[in-house]
Symmetry: C3
Subunit: 131 residues, 3 copies
């Protein structure tokens, strides 16, 4: 149920993007209460000048490999769950494809189940009347 928009500079290989996708999916399923196969991601690959970020604000130093993950979820998560997810995501990204932890920024926003329709015009998690 989460959808993630992943923003980074252009120039990475398909394998690099695939590894980001895998590590994100694994971190979500391991720590963020996300079922297997619930994978929806869009990569925004930007030119220099299109992606603007401070190199040192509240962390870093950020390099040109900086990645922003914007994650929209469909149900609440506890503070502890969020913390565990952030830690696990940077850990897995460091392993594959090899992203420096300083280069990972994450923003979570949470909606409710009925704000989602996965397919066929059906609202998710809403009771329907029989008939």
């Amino acid at each position: 149920m989460p959808f993630t928009r992943i923003t980074l500079h252009k120039g990475k290989s398909p394998d690099y993007l695939r590894a980001i996708s895998e590590s994100l999916d694994r971190a979500l399923t391991e720590t963020f209460d996300v079922p297997a196969n619930d994978r929806f991601q869009a990569f925004n690959q930007l030119d220099h000048g299109e992606f603007v970020f401070d190199r040192h604000y509240l962390g870093g130093p950020r390099s040109d490999d900086f990645i922003l993950f914007e994650i929209v979820g469909g149900k609440p998560r506890s503070t502890a769950t969020k913390q565990a997810f952030y830690r696990r995501l940077v850990e897995l990204l460091a392993q594959s494809p090899g992203v420096r932890p300083e280069d990972v920024m994450i923003i979570v926003s949470l909606t409710t189940r009925e704000d989602w329709s996965f397919s066929n015009g059906v609202a998710w998690g809403v009771q329907t009347n029989g008939g």
Copy 2:
């Protein structure tokens, strides 16, 4: 007042995009309490490898024609309103440009009126002091 970001694979014709735009606008005005002419949309057309989605999770089977609609609205909507909108959107998209209902995913998120400025730096729906 809604703004919609529409994510899909590259390769569709201008007419196809225009038909998506029309069907979305019509579904919003018919079912989602959106006034005529309140149309704000951005298409994100992605390469293969940039758009990652499970083919079967909670619906589908999704094809390469899969489309994600992220809709930000400026006021609350009831569960029934959301359900009616989801149903109507897939119905209209099936008619024009001919999108399979299995290929439509929708995420709604709602803010408040004062979170919007449409033009000229003026907050929407906020009382201003006379003078």
Copy 3:
């Protein structure tokens, strides 16, 4: 702490984008309770047909230079703060790079501090246990 996605038509110069970035940053620090150096922005430059907007709805007339700012913040702001920010942003953009106030649309959405990790997998503003 805000992240801003800036959507506009393709075709502007690097200097034009840089001036938008500067004016946005200045408006945020002056009026929106944002610290210096807290700058995170992504530009989405779209082709004609990818960016759809009504020319007159609740403002305008909007031209091909129309810009949408989607700002995600990490803490609440008052109505007055939002109003001051909208006013200041259009004022600064009119000065540099010279954007017509009619061409500026802004959408704010607010999360909480723990929804943000700026770097290194650390949740922002969350007390950690010593040790």
